[in-house]
Symmetry: C2
Subunit: 149 residues, 2 copies
């Protein structure tokens, strides 16, 4: 029941991007360096985010990525990880009932978990993390490094 590095690194990368893209697009290499993630692996993560419409890219020299902060953490994590359901049950994704559906009671457990996770991440915006992050940084006397958990 763990997020993979896709979700962990990917969210770190998006937050790093949001914190550094005030004026212009940010190159992946700079995010990779700050966050100690290999460029080539980050490429795969950001590709998921781009295909989901979460970040926008510009190609070529001086290119890079930008992100709109008014997006939920849930949308980011689902783009990176796939759905956040604890089991792959079609009913949790709005699909048809499984053959044991009428007697299946454990699915109430899975739905309960699923709903709580999705609610938790859908009611938190990237902009809130950005704000929190700036406050934390302002509180420290020195400029700390940028590494995020």
């Amino acid at each position: 029941m763990k997020l993979s590095t896709k979700g962990r690194y990917g969210l770190r990368a998006v937050l790093d991007l949001a914190l550094h893209s005030e004026t212009e697009a940010v190159a992946l290499s700079s995010i990779a360096e700050r966050q100690s993630i290999s460029i080539s692996y980050l490429e795969q993560l950001i590709a998921k985010l781009r295909k989901a419409g979460i970040v926008e890219s510009t190609r070529g020299a001086r290119g890079g990525y930008v992100v709109d902060e008014e997006i939920s953490i849930g949308d980011i994590l689902r783009a990176l990880e796939g759905n956040l359901n604890p089991v792959d049950c079609s009913e949790l994704s709005g699909g048809p009932s499984c053959h044991a559906s009428d007697i299946c009671v454990t699915k109430y457990v899975w739905k309960r978990i699923s709903d709580s996770i999705n609610n938790a991440v859908d009611t938190l915006m990237l902009s809130e993390l950005v704000k929190e992050s700036r406050e934390v940084q302002a509180a420290g006397q020195e400029k700390k490094n940028d590494i995020l958990c």
Copy 2:
């Protein structure tokens, strides 16, 4: 972000056990047969539950397991899966802060998810699933098989 078969099979097994242990201990072989899980794999799952004090065993012929229904689904799932935190961050488990703790903002996300999952499963009791299960079975005209999702 998926539960493993430990959690899924294990919870099915516990519920099956609760539904069949009214008068006497239930042998693992009968649970395994009803739930189509191999006995030897089930042994490993039920060992975790026994060590966590969730089921009680009696050895020897006519032996088997019993379970007290007044236990939360959270206790069952944590016994099977380990903690249900989305990342292994010591602060989520009540341990010391990590070195990046003072600037780590993503940990708020992990804590939010962690809290919501644990709350969801800790406020649901095995007895409630048992009750629901009996109602579902009573509603069907025929006795259906016992397979759970």
